[in-house]
Every structure is written in structure tokens, then in C-alpha cells.
Symmetry: C2
Subunit: 90 residues, 2 copies
Amino acid sequence: MGDLYKALADPTRRAILDELRQRDGQTLYELCVRLISNHGLGSTRQAISQHLDVLEEAGLVRTRRQGRFKFHDLDTAPLREIADRWPSPE
Amino acid sequence: MGDLYKALADPTRRAILDELRQRDGQTLYELCVRLISNHGLGSTRQAISQHLDVLEEAGLVRTRRQGRFKFHDLDTAPLREIADRWPSPE
DNA sequence: TTGACATGCAAGCAGCCACTTGCATATAGT
DNA sequence: ACTATATGCAAGTGGCTGCTTGCATGTCAA
């Protein structure tokens, strides 16, 4: 299992999570387009692909293949570790 | 305000947060000692100091000065942003 | 099969980041 | 004042990381 916190450290990766939160099951190209139009991020397809690998390693993104398409879904479960590790004092 | 996520990205900084969670109001030297004994981290005082700066920039650590001592307190409030940004699909 | 589409792999490079090193400042005790 | 204690500042360095580049693999439609 990859490093959850390192995965969250990059702003582009956080933007990807934002996109997947709005609509699950997006493909790599869809994410590229929406990152440009919605976030003004001009990243290459390969860059996004590598970011998705990191997010998947961290368990934040799950993928399902269908033919030549690969759909990406958000999984927020790993984020619970953060809230559990440093709970709010009350 | 510094980058919350970048502050969490470093394992030594997370260990500092763990220490402060156990006991608030620790000083720089106390943290150095406890990081070595509790976490096996052999970092220099200056390294820890720089980490504390990053944590304070991110709002995760608040400091109060008293004479030549500087006490550090944990503030978990910024962590709420994470849970709010990618909420669990209950 | 041919071509277009969608993704994967890997090497190279530039910028950043954590760490060290050395010196400086400030406070408290004697 | 002098010393020890506690922290602060700043330059230099090695390694990691995000990005690009180029090519390869795999899938679908005609």
C-alpha cells in the first residue's frame, strides 16, 4: 500500500479527486479534459496517468477495466485514517 | 497560510503530531528526545525545528512563548478541510 | 487487416525538499 | 558579567518527484 499522505500532497492529484467526487467512473481522457476546463490545469495525459497510479496505490482511486477503457472511481475510505489518528478534542 | 497537505506528507512531521497528541505543550528539545525514544527517529534539532515551522504554517501547531521556552500545541482544526472536501458517501 | 483510439512503459531532466552545518540571538541561573 | 540553556537564521547538498518525451501494447470499428 502506497503512502496516503504523499498522494494527497500534490495539488493536481487533489484536483483529480475533486473531479472524481463530482462524477465517478471517468476515464483518463475525460479527466484530462475536465482538469483543463474546470481547473485550468494544462497537464499531459501521461502526467495524469502517473498521478492516477499514485492515487490508486494509496487506495484513494479504484479502477475497473472495460474493453479499452479504464474507469476510475473515488474511494474515500483511506481518509478515515487521518481523522482517527488525530481526533478532534471534544 | 501554508500547505496543509504538504505538511502532512512527511513521516517525521506526522510523528511530531502523534507526540503532541499524546502530550500538548512540549518544547523543541522534549520533542527531539521523545521522537528518538518513541519513534526511533534520529533527527537533528534543526531538522525538527524546521518541521515545526512547516506545521505551524499549516495551522496544525500553535506556539506560545514563555521566557526562553517555546511550547507547541496541536491544533486539529485544519484537518476538517479534508473530511469536508471528500466526504464519505455515508 | 488496416487505422484510430485508449492506455502502458521507461528513460531523462529540472525543481523542490529534507537534512546538515555553522554561527547567531536570547533568556535564566550563579 | 559569565556560563549554560533554548531557540533562530541561512547557505549548501543529496535525493526524491513531477513532468516530459518517445515508443509500445491493446482494443474496437470499418
